[in-house]
Symmetry: none
Subunit: 530 residues, 2 copies
């Protein structure tokens, strides 16, 4: 090729580039779904054992947010895993509380930035209810039931099975997405597929205790947290095993209530139907707050609920009906909400009675009138409800039923002045969130994931669960979309939490497709779309 003969070409190229609206230095073109799939498959074939080992190492560190020493060990291992990929890290610390591990990885030529959110702390455990220890990270084949002994997967040559499961607290919620995201980077690198977006990591250590310092951290470190989209890597995929995106999450506020009878338990024969029974007060009050069908009866509670948009309603209607399988799996012959589909119901607020305790039952039962009765509730909120508003409605309800509200145990004077007393302990709570499905990036994300998974992707206007994702839009004015990868039957928050290995492999491909493909044409409206 002669230099002279082709002198005009660079100018033409530059013009073409400008015409296409692509900035310089240029992004590589979208490699397409097939190239990403092939790259990830090859990488897993070669490195599967190493990927699983990274996750096992991480799951084996106990991770209660209150366990400072182990939280530090988790943070340390996360930094090592990020450094391995050349990601610069920084601890965003708040007065000795579990730190956020922040990381940053640029992509040459990229102008858009994704920030990956996940959390490394986990729910409390009751070891007696686990088949193997909650932090043993045993791999078993659930198809073999109780016979499914620990699989010696680390021995080279053992063929991997996607149906195997890794058991351990946070195996699914929420350590798997971290390992999947990091290995997505590696898989693209191995196949020389360039990343189309800059990447940041924001790994939180106290999500399961309600993210008490998240808002502060986002405010203090706003200057390094600028991004175009928060990718929230938390929660499970759909029960049908199809990929699902969520554009927001329900808000939450929890409430502990204590009802009071006499100052000490009394003989139920000598005082029964004279001395007030606090369980009777509790069942009467609580049954007036929520019907057995799930409807919230507290006056005004749902006044702030926003109507769904046309696109949101359409997305909900497209979700496959999985109720029959799910009900069979869960041993249910009925569901609340008048038999409406699960996803429709999750668009409404919910009042969950999560626990109750008073006196004793069965072998601990005594013929006594208990002195106190407790009940624990979590309220799930949907846009545009706020914790403050629903809290006020709940307190109004109690007052309307002649209850005197206290926030500390009542003393003798309070008891003598007020016939019916309830102690309320409110959690912090946070509001719901819902990014718009109408944003161009929302639409492009859906198209890429549908190409990658070869089928329709379920789009949830809000997830049934809660997360502090509202803060990303509220404090940083950045939309947040949830892209979960773990199996729906992961026993999240309960004993025997587990991760299905195939979900880890699929998750790597999904995150790789975002890295390789989302950056191109970020703002463009798709062809044929409104």
């Amino acid at each position: 090729m002669s230099v002279n003969g082709f002198r005009s070409r660079p100018v033409v190229f530059l013009l073409l580039v400008l015409a296409a609206g692509i900035c310089t230095p240029c992004l590589a073109a979208d490699p397409g779904a097939e190239a990403v799939r092939s790259a990830v498959e090859k990488y897993i074939d070669r490195r599967g054992r190493g990927i699983l080992l990274e996750l096992v190492d991480l799951v084996q560190i106990p991770n209660l947010a209150s366990d400072a020493e182990n939280i530090r060990r988790n943070a340390g291992l996360l930094e090592i895993l990020l450094h391995k990929r050349g990601i610069a890290t920084r601890r965003l610390e708040t007065n000795g509380f579990p730190p956020v591990i922040f990381g940053e990885l640029k992509a040459p030529g990229a102008t858009r930035t994704l920030i990956m959110y996940a959390h490394y702390d986990g729910q409390p455990v009751d070891p007696a209810r686990w088949r193997s220890g909650p932090w043993e990270a045993e791999v078993r084949d659930p198809a073999l039931g109780l016979k499914g002994k620990r699989i010696q997967w680390m021995m080279p040559g053992t063929p991997f099975n996607g149906e195997w499961r890794l058991y351990g607290r946070s195996s699914s919620d929420d350590k798997a997405p971290i390992v999947a995201f990091l290995n997505a980077i590696d898989a693209l690198q191995a196949a020389s597929i360039p990343r189309s977006v800059n990447l940041k990591f924001f790994l939180e250590g106290e999500e399961e205790v309600g993210s008490p310092h998240l808002a502060d951290t986002l405010k203090r470190f706003a200057h390094i947290l600028d991004a175009d989209l928060w990718v929230v890597c938390d929660g499970p995929i759909h029960q049908s095993r199809r990929m699902q995106l969520f554009f927001g999450a329900r808000g939450i506020i929890d409430l502990e209530m204590t009802f009071y009878g006499s100052t000490r338990p009394l003989h139920s024969g000598h005082y029964g139907n004279w001395a007030p029974n606090p369980i009777a007060m509790m069942v009467s009050l609580v049954s007036g707050m929520r019907g057995p069908d799930g409807d919230i009866l507290i006056p005004g509670f749902s006044d702030q609920v926003r109507e769904l948009t046309g696109r949101e309603r359409l997305a909900l209607e497209k979700i496959p009906d999985f109720r029959e399988t799910l009900m069979k799996d869960l041993g249910l012959a009925w569901t609340e909400g008048g038999g409406e589909p699960l996803e429709q119901l999750l668009m409404r607020p919910a009042m969950n009675l999560r626990g109750t305790m008073a006196g004793g039952v069965e072998e601990m039962a005594r013929n006594a009138i208990p002195a106190e009765a407790r009940v624990s509730i979590d309220f799930r909120l949907v846009p545009d409800q706020t914790p403050e508003f629903v809290r006020a409605r709940v307190e109004e309800y109690f007052r309307a039923h002649s209850f005197h509200i206290v926030f500390e145990p009542p003393n003798q004077k309070t008891r003598s002045l007020h016939p019916r007393i309830v102690k309320l302990q409110w959690g912090h709570g946070y509001p719901p969130s819902r990014a718009s499905m109408d944003l161009p990036v929302s639409r492009r994300l859906v198209r890429i994931l549908e190409e990658q998974t070869g089928g329709p992707v379920i789009q949830l206007p809000t997830l049934g669960g809660s997360g502090p994702t509202y803060l990303f839009s509220e404090i940083l004015d950045t939309p947040a979309i949830g892209i979960p990868i773990v199996n729906h039957d992961n026993n999240q928050h309960a004993a025997d939490e587990n991760l299905r290995l195939q979900n880890l492999w699929d998750g790597i491909e999904i995150y790789a497709s975002l890295l390789a493909r989302l950056g191109e044409g970020w703002d463009q409206t798709e062809e044929g779309e409104p």
Copy 2:
């Protein structure tokens, strides 16, 4: 006196005797309250130390029904105490369980027989909560509070104080009445006052574990247990320190209920207001069974309740109103039953919610929908309710609310067929009892005790608590009346159980008055009475 001159006298006397309905050989005439009081006072003055020593010896033997060796030691000492009074004894044994100590003591000329019921076993103890050991039988002066050191009462010459208390398990419940009854015999003997009734003793050793063999024993030994009246020597006197009689006890039946949601706890966000919440089912069902004011709402539950007679209503109205003191003591600003007096309410059936448990509360709370919810109930029954009838009404209530009742945990098939499932576990239960206040002996008993105590005696148609006294009427067709003597503030069933000494002295007088006076005119209607 010449025999001739008075020949006709014996005939006249015999005619008089026949006319008066008094059988031969003649009973001594009623000595009157004053003679009995004086006899008992003199006896206590002379023998007080010895009486207390008998009780201390008895209280110092541990007496859990499950402690076979010590139960035998208790039984042995009881036999010695009975033999000292010339009472023939017999052990009524059932396969190695704590024996009933049976005793019999005839009175010359008596045609009526009292059978004294008491129990020598006690409630379990938690020694850490006792000031002195539960079987040390320390005597202290409670007026001195914590400074009230052990009193060296055994030293001759130490003046006795009726306010002293003997601390120890079963000092009040129920060994004191045994010692009081035996010393009542001695006090009369010492004053040469003849007994007006034959006497039997029935001292049970497993009342505190629910008298599991009482029915069997009554049936097997019915031939030696014939009597005209069971005197149940158990329970405390009234809070006002007045004597109280009870003519029966409430029956009881207990129920453990389990409500079922899905087969495992579920994330309350992802499944909340779709998956059934078993606590919601529980509060809805239970709040429909019982109002917060204590009223039982189960249709038909109270259909068998017998109306109170005129005399029973009158007796209740005469009971001193002790509510204000009691409510202050218990930290209550209201009571159930629309503020009606305690004793009136105890004449009605009661549904006590004695415990509930599901999921977790406070630090154990999880954002999960629990799989099961439990609630434990004891129903107190009044005449003529039967456990069978109320059980049928409760089960009807559940069926009317579309619940499928099971008695074992439901399997998958049952779960798939029935939307709403409740598991019921019923206790054995027993019916209530209530002897008639209209019987001449009931009236005479009240008159004697009012004369003896110099004031009105509280008469409870039924005690609020339950006891197996219904068996005496059901199996042996003999009325039973409770005549308690111990102080109301005896810490029965709890730590620091105690007996106020004055109650022991008064108890001797009360039982002596029955022995000396009840036999005469047993069947006669009192003068001026209807």
